[in-house]
Symmetry: C2
Subunit: 150 residues, 2 copies
């Protein structure tokens, strides 16, 4: 019998493995978009034109952070901003053609590392991971509802 015969999820291990996996993903970023930019861009793509406030909510970051992320994406030519005609306070962002192109390309590159590693696991492990994806998303969604599936 394996080391995890316990019924309850080992919270500390789950927490640490998440931190470390995120770190690894960040490290092997190399070329392309950074995780935050990728995440935001994917969200903008899926949720259509978004106000900055909506993006902040759905990405669960603060308004200042959103401003900076969008500024970066705009500077890269991946999103465009349009002023709301009826409400002078709000700005909407949408993905440009170039943005969508790069989204796909960058996603490919980023998935590669993970896919490579997955390739070295047993099919039991893969089945366990596959089964865990949705629960993990629910973990994130417990209080809120965002999910972009970039």
């Amino acid at each position: 019998m394996g080391p995890s015969t316990k019924r309850r999820v080992d919270v500390a291990r789950l927490r640490l493995v998440i931190v470390r996996l995120a770190r690894r993903q960040r490290q092997q970023a190399g070329t392309g978009l950074t995780p935050s930019l990728q995440s935001a861009l994917a969200m903008i793509d899926v949720r259509g034109p978004l106000t900055l406030g909506a993006l902040a909510t759905v990405e669960q970051v603060s308004p200042p952070t959103t401003t900076r992320i969008v500024a970066k994406l705009e500077e890269m030519g991946l999103v465009s901003r349009t002023a709301d005609p009826t409400d002078g306070r709000v700005t909407r962002v949408a993905v440009t053609t170039e943005g969508r192109r790069q989204l796909v390309e960058s996603r490919e590159r980023r998935d590669e590392w993970l896919r490579d590693r997955l390739g070295e696991l047993s099919s039991d492990d893969l089945a366990a991971l596959d089964a865990a994806v949705e629960p993990l998303e629910r973990l994130l969604a417990v209080t809120d509802e965002p999910r972009a599936d970039a």
Copy 2:
């Protein structure tokens, strides 16, 4: 039948959910040690006195980052450094009594958020997460071997 009838792990979703969970964990840090400090401290605790280089390797960060992390931990009185008597280049770090105390306390506090969220999931979800912990760790360990189980 649920939306994931596919046999292969959905790489993109797994990748994004990891990034976002890590972000959430960082956000709700509040008091106590930051994730990086907690991770490093746990590693030092488990792996006994470590050289900085060894710590860098097992934590998978660059030497300069290790230097800064250890400096912070030392400044907080959570670790102590001792010069190697036989090799003047190396320094070893060990967890202090206070460090071990705070490690436990901080771990408790940090687990809380995750535990709360886990409490709102179905037992099927919990079983799936429980089963995924070790595969996730193996994902991390594929190329290397660190694991501290803080």
